[in-house]
């Protein structure tokens, strides 16, 4: 890997040492200098999906950096030109756009090209003709692969470049081919991308529900972490390849340096929209969902490290989801999508299966004072202290009975639940306890007057922790 000495940049980027924030990302000893010059770039772009707008924003960035840009876009120009992101091609000043089949060299624009970006192919059949054509004919061959090709690791979940990949993944076959062919490749591995002119929903799935005051069904515990990255940050990373020989034969995760929990996405959007997120967790394995149904993201941890890009490419992100969420909500509201009626049938199926019942004003269940029971069965579950009022107000009869069975002492005389609270304490609480809980504000007078001792003990434990 050749290291280049420092040169003055045309574009006004400060060189090496400079002020603190700029230098923070990269130590003088390690950064490979970027030669700034006018390169000729070819972007082979996909016809849809989460990557499509990467091509648009990359083109913008390369043009702004002073390079010349040609785009070869897959797909039918007639069908796609009116849609985002392709509709924005008209705004790219100086870019040449041609439409054609990326697997057919007859469509390949006339070069020469210094750098080729394949932001299209997902398997070797699609990518090979392009690779073969440009072998020996470019200084950089960039392949936008996928972080989905990492093998999941439930112990140390963060994906780091060099970690084990799924051998069966189509993208991995392409990466191997690039390696075998000794291409001057750089592989980027993106995850979920958001930003202007996308062709595929990302955070919008959450917005469709939260902004309509619908519950958000999230699989699993909701603590799963994922990367959501702003497309401009990623375009910036991709645009750092031309002239950077430190990038050759390297892999980079194409992600933000922050990850966020699934619940956190919902909460952030709700806060930005001035609403409350009604998150409902469920076990996807119990739902009998078909592929693509339910939740749009992976259900396990799915996040990657961006440290290598910072070190080797001198990249620094400008965005993170929490910083952007207000603007994203505004954009969504302005898009007119709230006037449409999306299909929520899968949501409804999931919500029914978990026994979700919305609390609405005027319904028989209420969260205010007063027992919220609709029939004797539920009343007895309540008074036995096996369910809380909140649950009685929200869940279906079926769900409540399930919970009651789950929480009851099992027939073989196993330790009753209340024994877990105080070792060797009897199941019932004394009135002295009730007075204490009242004075500590753990239960209300209303509750003390209405509930059984066991129910009060339950509440006191729950609220006192």
């Amino acid at each position: 890997m050749a290291t280049l000495s420092a040169r003055t940049a045309y574009s006004g980027r400060t060189s090496l040492q400079g002020s603190r924030p700029a230098a923070r990302g990269v130590a003088a000893s390690r950064r490979v200098q970027v030669l700034v010059r006018a390169d000729s770039a070819l972007i082979v772009n996909t016809k849809g999906g989460g990557h499509a707008f990467l091509g648009l924003h990359l083109a913008k960035k390369l043009l702004a950096d002073g390079h010349s840009v040609t785009i070869l876009n897959d797909g039918d120009q007639g069908k796609l030109s009116a849609k985002a992101p392709f509709s924005q091609y008209a705004s790219l000043r100086g870019a040449q756009v041609v439409w054609g089949d990326p697997t057919n060299p007859a469509y390949y624009p006339e070069g020469p090209f210094d750098v080729v970006y394949d932001n299209n192919g997902k398997d070797l059949d699609t990518c090979q003709p392009l690779i073969d054509h440009f072998k020996g004919r470019c200084k950089h061959y960039v392949y936008v692969s996928s972080a989905g090709a990492y093998s999941p690791n439930d112990i140390e979940p963060m994906h780091v470049e060099g970690d084990k990949r799924k051998s069966s993944a189509g993208h991995v076959a392409v990466e191997k081919y690039l390696e075998e062919k000794w291409m001057p490749y750089t592989v980027f591995q993106p995850q979920y991308i958001y930003g202007p002119y996308t062709a595929k929903d990302c955070e919008q799935w959450f917005m469709e529900r939260i902004l309509r005051d619908r519950p958000v069904p999230i699989p699993g515990p909701g603590v799963q972490l994922t990367n959501l990255s702003h497309v401009e940050d990623l375009a910036d990373m991709l645009a750092r390849v031309p002239g950077n020989y430190g990038a050759v034969r390297e892999h980079f995760n194409l992600v933000s340096d922050r990850c966020i929990t699934l619940d956190g996405i919902a909460k952030a959007i709700a806060a930005a929209a001035g609403k409350e997120a009604k998150i409902v967790h469920y076990d996807p394995a119990q739902m009998g969902l078909k592929k693509g149904e339910g939740f749009p993201f992976r259900t396990g941890h799915f996040f990657a490290s961006a440290d290598k890009a910072k070190r080797v490419l001198g990249w620094q992100p400008k965005h993170n989801f929490l910083k952007d969420v207000d603007q994203l909500v505004r954009d969504f509201k302005a898009s007119g999508r709230l006037d449409k009626q999306p299909d929520f049938s899968v949501d409804d199926r999931i919500l029914a299966a978990v026994g979700y019942k919305a609390t609405t004003v005027g319904a028989s269940s209420s969260s205010a004072a007063g027992p919220a029971v609709s029939n004797a069965g539920v009343a007895s579950l309540l008074s036995s202290g096996l369910i809380t009022r909140q649950e009685a107000a929200t869940f279906s009869q079926q769900q409540l009975e399930f919970l009651a069975r789950k929480r009851s002492p099992s027939p073989g005389g196993a330790t009753p639940r209340s024994a877990a609270a105080a070792p060797a304490a009897p199941a019932a609480a004394t009135s002295g306890d009730v007075r204490q809980w009242l004075s500590r504000g753990l239960i209300t007078q209303q509750e003390a007057a209405t509930f059984s001792q066991e129910q009060l003990a339950f509440l006191a434990r729950k609220r006192g922790a």
Binding site: K164, E175, G412
Partner: protein, 409 residues
């Protein structure tokens, strides 16, 4: 000479093993090293991968020890300093004091004097302990006693203070007043990543919001005081520190249960993500700050490079002990009242921080990945029959009774 400064205590174990060839095998789940882009798709069993990773690490460490680094190792080129260390005798200080002595500095430990100041630790050799014990100095004093501190420290010419056990701003003020500003070049403070405000967006980065209500707020006030006083300070925020002689039962919690053949009770889903940092790597980071102009008035997160789930940590501890995967029992902590007993050693939330700033600015890199770090802790401590706290399995039995219907038999 320069090259061997890096981690004289602790490299011992790693470099001692035969250096295996640098095969580009699939990285182990626990390896944690920055590795080459190997696209090896071979399925190898996790233990083999782990061993391969450990020998790669050993080879790398040996290579580093053998060949001087091209980049400047700051501490090696730093002239010997007169150092005062507060809290040098329990855990972090043990390794830090030794590294500083090896690097040629003049180190004084300030303790109340209730316990022996020097004692042999598993990482010592006869020669290294002899050097350490004969070089390190001691001042007995109560650091909260301003008058006594002034009497003990005034005009002693201390140039650098390592404040490892300071908790409140007043304690720091006492030290500053006692040592005096005249000779003081650097005040290096051990804070905690516990100061970060809990967040859904992770990891914690040094510029993130801190929580002035947390139980670590004294550390924040200390950082503020140092800044106000115009001292050349640096603050280090570790996450969960582990390693031989840990007095906080982090890995010990798991080791006790695994040894007893008990299931590991993990709150919630077990998918909470956290991070461990080996004490020797932390000590090295502290050494890298000494005499480093980049570190002036900076805060650094210091821990391992990778993050681990709660369930994953249980599995990694078992692997470190050479045991098969443990049984893990999940429970809802809200359903229990454990009283004062701790059912689990870690906060029930995501808790991990980015260390890329320390790596970049301090020319530092963690040597230990999770598995070899836990192995180091086990082989030098718990595995030898030593530990700090007797286990209390009461919470475990409460959980097992409820979840499985009976306590552990």
């Amino acid at each position: 000479m320069a090259a061997t400064m890096r981690c004289s205590v602790g490299v011992q174990g790693a470099a001692g093993r035969a250096a295996a060839p640098r095969a580009l095998a699939s990285p182990a789940p626990f390896a944690g090293l920055r590795r080459a882009n190997a696209l090896d798709a071979k399925e190898t069993c996790p233990i083999q991968q782990a061993r391969a990773a450990v020998s790669r690490r050993a080879a790398a460490a040996a290579a580093r020890a053998a060949a001087p680094r091209a980049t400047t190792v700051m501490s090696a080129n730093v002239a010997p300093k007169k150092i005062l260390m507060l809290g040098g005798t329990r855990f972090i200080g043990l390794y830090l004091a030794r590294q500083l002595i090896e690097a040629g500095h003049d180190v004084t430990l300030l303790t109340r004097g209730k316990k022996p100041v020097t004692y042999r630790i598993p990482d010592d050799t006869d020669a290294s302990y002899e050097r350490f014990a004969s070089s390190v100095k001691h001042i007995a004093c109560d650091r909260t006693d301003a008058v006594a501190m002034k009497a003990a420290l005034a005009n002693k010419g201390f140039e650098v203070v390592y404040d490892i056990n300071g908790r409140e701003a007043d304690e720091c003020a006492i030290v500053l007043d006692a040592v005096g500003a005249h000779n003081l070049q650097q005040y290096i403070f051990c804070s905690s990543a516990g100061v970060y405000k809990k967040s859904d967006q992770m990891p914690h980065r040094e510029e993130d919001e801190v929580d002035f209500k947390s139980r670590h707020k004294g550390k924040l006030f200390t950082e503020e005081l140092l800044q106000q006083r115009g001292v050349n300070w640096t603050s280090v925020r570790p996450v969960y520190i582990y390693g031989p002689l840990n007095y906080n039962p982090v890995e010990e919690f798991f080791f006790h249960r695994l040894k007893a053949g008990r299931p590991i009770c993990v709150p919630g889903s077990g998918m909470q993500v956290t991070q461990l940092g080996h004490v020797k790597d932390l000590a090295t980071a502290f050494v890298r700050i000494l005499g480093n102009p980049k570190a002036a008035r900076q805060v650094y997160n210091v821990a391992g490079e990778r993050f681990v789930t709660f369930d994953g940590l249980a599995k990694a501890c078992a692997a470190a002990m050479g045991l098969p995967e443990p049984e893990i029992v999940h429970y809802n902590p809200k359903e229990y009242d454990f009283g004062k007993a701790k059912a689990f050693p870690m906060r029930d939330q995501h808790f991990f921080a980015s260390v890329d700033k320390a790596i970049e600015e301090l020319d530092w890199q963690p040597e230990f990945g999770l598995l070899d770090g836990l192995r180091d802790s086990y082989e030098k401590d718990f595995g030898r029959g030593t530990y700090r706290k007797e286990p209390d399995f009461t919470p475990d039995d409460m959980i097992l009774s409820k979840v499985k219907g009976k306590a552990f038999a």
